[in-house]
């Protein structure tokens, strides 16, 4: 990753160093090392079961919440190892936002309360007025505000799938995370909703580092600056997206990108 065609002023927000993640005796990710830059979108691609979601879930310490799951290696967030002893995973997750494959609005909460959900655990906790402002700003950034501004009190489950997913993005943005993790955010959406989310991703990288796991190589090519390719738990190659899709170094990457398997 020496030749970078774009803005050279970026720096690695997350440095993943020899990361191994396992469930019981089976390892899902083995020895992955990669830098995830600020103000860049990193796409993680690879066939099903290659460990890309597990990799993503290690970046906010969510992987370890599954019984028998284990993580080895280091993940440095702004230079501090989030797996160091004494680091509270709950604190890490406040800095690293995440959006899942299927929309996960809290069904008992209104649209407003869903967006404000993360603010409840911030310290100091914002006042009611501040919360309303933050909610509005987050909904605007997630390009949802105009569609819901007149019904913020309605249950979040009344929204369509695409709207719910943008609501989840707004919820993740409300706490102003340093890194945003997206786990196949468009996999359960229709093409138009997918396009909206993609446009959003492009906007978001202005002030944070975005990591997006995707099944869809066109999507990776469209939205990302850097692409990382996983195969059977191994990080085969990570390079600027242009390079990756035109002149990959590893023959396995080329085989996958040209559609010879996967």
């Amino acid at each position: 990753m020496t030749e970078r065609a774009h803005d050279a002023a970026t720096w690695p927000r997350l440095r993943v160093d020899d990361l191994t993640a396992s469930f019981g005796a089976t390892s899902a990710v083995r020895g992955a090392s990669v830098d995830l830059n600020d103000r860049e979108v990193t796409a993680v691609i690879g066939p099903s079961g290659c460990g890309k979601s597990t990799f993503l879930r290690c970046l906010n310490r969510l992987h370890e919440t599954v019984p028998t799951a284990r993580v080895e290696g280091r993940v440095l967030l702004d230079g501090r190892n989030i797996y160091a002893t004494g680091v509270n995973p709950v604190a890490v997750r406040k800095l690293v936002g995440m959006v899942f494959q299927r929309p996960t609005p809290f069904p008992t909460m209104s649209i407003r309360d869903n967006v404000a959900a993360g603010l409840l655990v911030m310290s100091p906790r914002p006042s009611r007025k501040e919360t309303d402002e933050i909610v509005e700003r987050a909904l605007k950034r997630a390009a949802l505000f105009d569609e819901v501004k007149d019904r913020l009190g309605e249950p979040a489950t009344a929204l369509s799938g695409g709207q719910q997913q943008r609501l989840c993005i707004a919820r993740a943005l409300a706490t102003d995370p340093e890194v945003l993790l997206l786990d196949e955010p468009t996999a359960s959406l229709d093409p138009i909703s997918s396009q909206k989310v993609e446009e959003l991703v492009y906007e978001l990288k202005r002030d944070m580092s975005v990591v997006i796991v995707t099944h869809n190589m066109q999507q990776a090519a469209r939205v990302s600056d850097v692409t990382a390719f996983f195969l059977m738990g191994e990080l085969v190659e990570a390079a600027p997206t242009k390079t990756m899709f035109t002149t990959p170094k590893d023959p396995r990457t080329e085989a996958y990108i040209t559609g010879r398997f996967g």
Binding site: V90, F100, T104, F106, T108, M109, G153, T157
Partner: protein
């Protein structure tokens, strides 16, 4: 030709097969109609006991149902204007006591079973809760007498409330567990990913999402203990006078009904019928409330 034949004109062979199956199809239709009729009849029979009971209770008890029944105390035969106000209040107090003791324990245990489902303790608790659930209530009553009433030296509402709580806890525990397990993992993970602690996730997201189902389970449990008489015979004893003291024997509707029903007087028999009618109406209302609680939550997200 009624047999549908797919794909243009039938061949001769198909026609021959079709001819042979026409007979069987008519036979199948007849058998199907008969069987549908039989199971429909069984479905109707299922509801007959309830309808019969309601009809009978209304016929026998409705005449004694008046304001006095709800406001007056039991009175000697011949005085008239007798009621069971003390028993109605007593039953409410017993239900409240049982809920006060049983709900925190039952819901807490259910959360534990759902969250730590693989542990040895969870497996053992789940099994024992099921056994306790199937325990005859009279056994529970004798046990409560032996462990609570005898050491205390007298019958009391406390002992009854605890006995009813013991009946309620396994039901509430298992419902809570089932309902909490229905909350998708993705919702828990979404809360954790926001920086919620495990405890906060369990209380504000998981429990709240499962709440409608848990409320239903609790109401079903309340409906069941409201009509229990066996555990109360050994614990609260019953009381012909007004008492709301938890340390004293207290009146309860099932006991008062029993008291009235076993007497030789027609007047008291009518009161027993009326009591049974009120009791069943209360239970029915609780069941309807349970229905309503589930429906309203599944139709809308129940915002706050």
């Amino acid at each position: 030709m009624t047999t549908p034949l797919i794909g243009g004109r039938p061949t001769l062979r198909q026609l021959a097969v079709a001819e042979r199956t026409v007979g069987t199809i008519t036979r199948r239709r007849i058998v199907s109609a008969i069987m549908a009729g039989v199971i429909a009849l069984m479905a109707i029979i299922t509801t007959l006991p309830l309808l019969f009971i309601l009809w009978h209770l209304a016929r026998e008890g409705a005449s004694s149902l008046n304001v006095a029944f709800f406001t007056q105390m039991p009175k000697p035969v011949g005085e008239g204007n007798a009621g069971m106000a003390n028993a109605i209040v007593g039953t409410l107090i017993l239900i409240a006591t049982a809920c006060g003791i049983g709900l925190p324990i039952g819901i807490g245990a259910g959360l534990y079973l759902a969250d730590f489902k693989g542990t040895r303790l969870a497996t053992a608790v789940r099994f024992l809760a099921d056994v306790l659930n199937g325990l005859p209530s009279i056994v529970l009553g004798i046990f409560a007498w032996e462990t609570l009433v005898r050491p205390m030296g007298h019958f009391s509402a406390w002992a009854g409330g605890i006995a009813l709580a013991a009946m309620m806890i396994p039901m509430v525990t298992r419902t809570t567990e089932e309902m909490v397990r229905l909350v998708p993992t993705s919702l828990r993970e979404a809360a954790l990913a926001l920086g919620y602690s495990r405890a906060r996730t369990a209380l504000t997201v998981v429990l709240r999402t499962a709440m409608a189902g848990i409320v239903t389970g609790v109401l079903v449990a309340v409906a069941r203990i409201a009509g229990e008489s066996a555990p109360l015979l050994f614990t609260v004893l019953g009381n012909s006078f007004w008492s709301v003291d938890l340390n004293q024997p207290i009146a309860a509707m099932p006991l008062q009904i029993f008291e009235y029903a076993k007497s030789p007087y027609d007047e008291w028999h009518r009161l027993a019928w009326a009591g049974a009618l009120v009791l069943i109406a209360v239970v029915l209302m609780i069941s309807l409330a349970a229905r309503f609680a589930t429906r309203s939550s599944s139709h809308r997200g129940s915002g706050d």
